[in-house]
């Protein structure tokens, strides 16, 4: 609420007090000449000011409540962002760990292939058709 943010709160509090006092004075202080002659005008003016100031007092209270909610939400967002970063780190470590295991296994298996290659190649010859089928499957094309 820009007007509430623009003007300090004490102005509204002071206006509330002044308008209340003026309203009460217009009813009570009949003995004072200025008040008794302008009672109606003072009542009207103070009632209008009181109504406007009450609106802004409500606005200040509402604004404060929203500011408190915003502050609480900002805190929650900061916590969520920290948790999000933490989650990323955990997932990253888990991923690296699993990929390392896959690579290590691959190395072990490939070492076995090297060891057994002579035996495998002596016993079995792969036809070009079989290679072509495997390549077609790997390429994912018809």
């Amino acid at each position: 609420m820009w007007i509430v943010n623009f003007l300090p709160d004490f102005i509204f509090h002071a206006l509330l007090l002044v308008s209340l006092l003026a309203l009460v004075a217009s009813f009570v202080l009949d003995s004072i000449p200025f008040v008794s002659t302008n009672a109606k005008a003072i009542q009207l003016a103070s009632a209008v000011v009181l109504a406007i100031v009450l609106y802004f007092e409500g606005a200040i209270s509402d604004n404060d409540a929203w500011l408190a909610r915003v502050a609480a939400l900002e805190k929650q967002v900061a916590v969520a962002e920290a948790k999000s970063k933490e989650t990323n780190t955990v997932i990253q470590y888990q991923y690296r760990d699993k990929v390392r295991t896959i690579k290590e296994t691959q190395v072990v298996v490939q070492e076995r292939i090297v060891k057994e290659a002579a035996k495998m190649d002596a016993e079995c010859k792969v036809s070009p058709e079989a290679v072509s089928i495997l390549n077609q499957a790997a390429g994912g094309k018809k």
Partner: protein, 87 residues
């Protein structure tokens, strides 16, 4: 006219902006990399060991991709839970 202006000014005084900004979380860079193509075999080869080697490489690549996909699923589920915790 002046009453209209005063009323509009009063009504506009109630306008508020939303100051809380939420950033979309970034996923780890490693899982964002696309999966590579499967390895093909040299068409001229007749060696079973060459075929097996290629198959093993492709198995490893699949497992790496599977890990990546699993990581994405886990990342999404966890981030969703964190996102929904802010109310």
């Amino acid at each position: 006219m002046k009453y209209v202006i005063i009323t509009v000014a009063l009504l506009l005084s109630a306008c508020v902006s939303v100051p809380v900004e939420r950033k979309f979380p970034m996923a780890p860079g490693e899982i964002q990399a696309p999966c590579g193509n499967l390895q093909t075999i040299d068409p001229a080869t007749t060696k079973l060991s060459a075929v097996i080697d290629s198959v093993v490489t492709n198995y490893a690549q699949y497992q790496e991709c599977q890990t990546k996909t699993d990581s994405w699923i886990e990342w999404y589920n966890r981030q969703k839970k964190i996102f929904e915790s802010v109310k």
